[in-house]
Assembly symmetry: C2
Homo-oligomer: 391 residues x 2
Amino acid sequence: MPHTAPRLARIEPFHVMRILGEAQALAASGRDVIHLEVGEPDFPTPQPVIDAGIAALQTGKTFYTGACGLPELREAIAGFYRERLGAAVTADRVIVTPGASGALQLILALLVGRDDEVLLTDPGYPCNRHLVSLLEGRPVNIPVDARSNFQLTPELIRSHSSARTVATLLASPANPTGTVLDVDEIKILQDVCNQNQQQLIVDEIYQGLVYDSPHTTALTASDQLFVVNSFSKFFQMTGWRLGWLVAPEWAVADLEKLAQNLFLAPPTTAQHAALAAFRPDTLAILEQRRQELQARRNYLQHALGQLGLIVQARPEGAFYLWLDCRRFTNDAEQFARELLHAEAVAVTPGRDFGDQGSAYSIRIAYSQPINRLEEAITRIGRHLRNYCAAA
Amino acid sequence: MPHTAPRLARIEPFHVMRILGEAQALAASGRDVIHLEVGEPDFPTPQPVIDAGIAALQTGKTFYTGACGLPELREAIAGFYRERLGAAVTADRVIVTPGASGALQLILALLVGRDDEVLLTDPGYPCNRHLVSLLEGRPVNIPVDARSNFQLTPELIRSHSSARTVATLLASPANPTGTVLDVDEIKILQDVCNQNQQQLIVDEIYQGLVYDSPHTTALTASDQLFVVNSFSKFFQMTGWRLGWLVAPEWAVADLEKLAQNLFLAPPTTAQHAALAAFRPDTLAILEQRRQELQARRNYLQHALGQLGLIVQARPEGAFYLWLDCRRFTNDAEQFARELLHAEAVAVTPGRDFGDQGSAYSIRIAYSQPINRLEEAITRIGRHLRNYCAAA
Ligand SMILES: Cc1ncc(COP(=O)(O)O)c(C=O)c1O
Ligand SMILES: Cc1ncc(COP(=O)(O)O)c(C=O)c1O
């Protein structure tokens, strides 16, 4: 085997792909699989956005744009912050990227030198720790649980910081738990980061998908933190690969040169299409869908609890429930595989998201219509009964 | 100024953006600017590809695909190698990426650990050395000139290799020179790399844009090298951000896990559109355009020579001429700026491409129709006469 970079030993594949592969094979063999494992909304991209994409193609918008994106899109994003979220963001602080993935990579490439440390939650979004490893930095995975609603606290940040810590990366709403930090909490965490010469990065990719609190942004707390966002989730444009970041002024020129070298530019048609994402007709569609997601969450949270699958974090946002399955298993991967083969319901075992509680946790994405969720609950209930009867 | 990663000091912005900015300001003020500075063909994406993209949007192809791309696109790319280029490539060795940019990043992330060295040509494509720095590796920029047709030779590779050298990265056809290596030459270079425990990466992004030799691929030389390619240049899909790589079998699983974590997936609509790129009607359009580029090259090479601007490399491919302007200047950046302001012709000063000869070299992209190139020649001729008269 030829030599590869040592970082490869620290970077893991998405383990859920094995479950997904088995689920696809089952579906191909004729089984009616209910997919609750995929981290994307089941809604198609809103029609006004599709139409704008088609119009862009019809008018030959197929050339490179500048590395930071179309000026009018940067302005539209800044306007969204100002008008809808009350944050004084200017267009020059907005950089359009290939997904939130691209935004996370740019910010980490700016901040993380070799052996520099980045504080992360465990459980958390799997790519984060691997992006830190890519850059030869060290992810510091901080175990979190229900006591802090699966988020970081000032104490956790302080006690895990070292002279090498350069950044703390949070998500609100979070993946896989759906928990939310309010702006006051973020402000406090930012002050702690600043006292420790760290930057705070807030991943707001699930922004807007909140059910118990108003739609807010960390940017109302400060213009000195980094915010990551995307058209993938709230705007339901996953396959378009378009996101953005908002940076403090001082960081923009460096981020731009990184964007030039890493990506050249974000996708052009997607950028033209995204100009329609902020239109009132699009936002009305998205608000309807948010309400639909809320109804699904309410239904599932209750129904799963009835079955003895406990939602271990307050799922105030995103479209995930993080379940404690200890009553039934201490091997969530095995449990997920059995559920798939017995009842054709696909869920994500905890392992991808970290070590903390992952052996007994699964993530359920409520990315199916209510009637399918009802069917899923019937199947899961039957499985658990058979499971207990067999044990 | 807050702490940033030390690599930022080694990563440069695209200096040509300053010229581009000035050119855009001139155009906005009403001047008729001739753009010979941009690295993309002036042709719009071929209509069958546009139509396939529109159809994909109309049928709701807006969700994530797998990290390595649509199976049918991987198969279509492999089929292109087998049927058109005579290389026995299987679909599982093809990974679809966000541009050649994404492919270069994946391969380097696989191979380059901290302080590992990668051999590159100087002049060469600017992003390569910065992608190596991103990963905490060390780019080794090897000065090349007309003696080796601006490509590496076995002697150059041997004399610049060290125990830390993990890869050699070439481009054929090359940017900024347009020079081409034939398959026999590549085979020899690969043998040298292998003797030195290095991997060979061949960037074939300008494949198919060749004017004096048949359309070939390094993959006919060996299945143990890495090939980078893209829909950007030959297929004229720059803004779609879609490329691919072909890897040796042993590397595929590791590249897939990197792709999952870095990008999640390449853009979906672009992938569906690209399925139409290999159709006979598309390929017929592209062949016509290739002939048009050849005619432009022939015209410009002759006309620039007449003006005393010497094409210093054999421009057998891509759409670039690498000019020696020593008769007129030793400050190519100043020269480019004066040409822009005096005659509204925009060209790229050598600096972005490296140090070797860059003070007196400029790159001209023949990405304008012949009648515009004729006008450019008239203007450049006038400028050079005034320039010499003033000196
Ligand atoms: C928390 C979080 N951040 C970032 C991303 C990346 O998304 P994208 O690159 O599609 O914007 C995801 C995707 O699932 C996510 O869950
Ligand atoms: C030699 C070379 N490689 C790679 C690229 C990246 O192109 P893309 O990411 O659009 O495929 C370019 C673009 O100009 C190039 O010239």
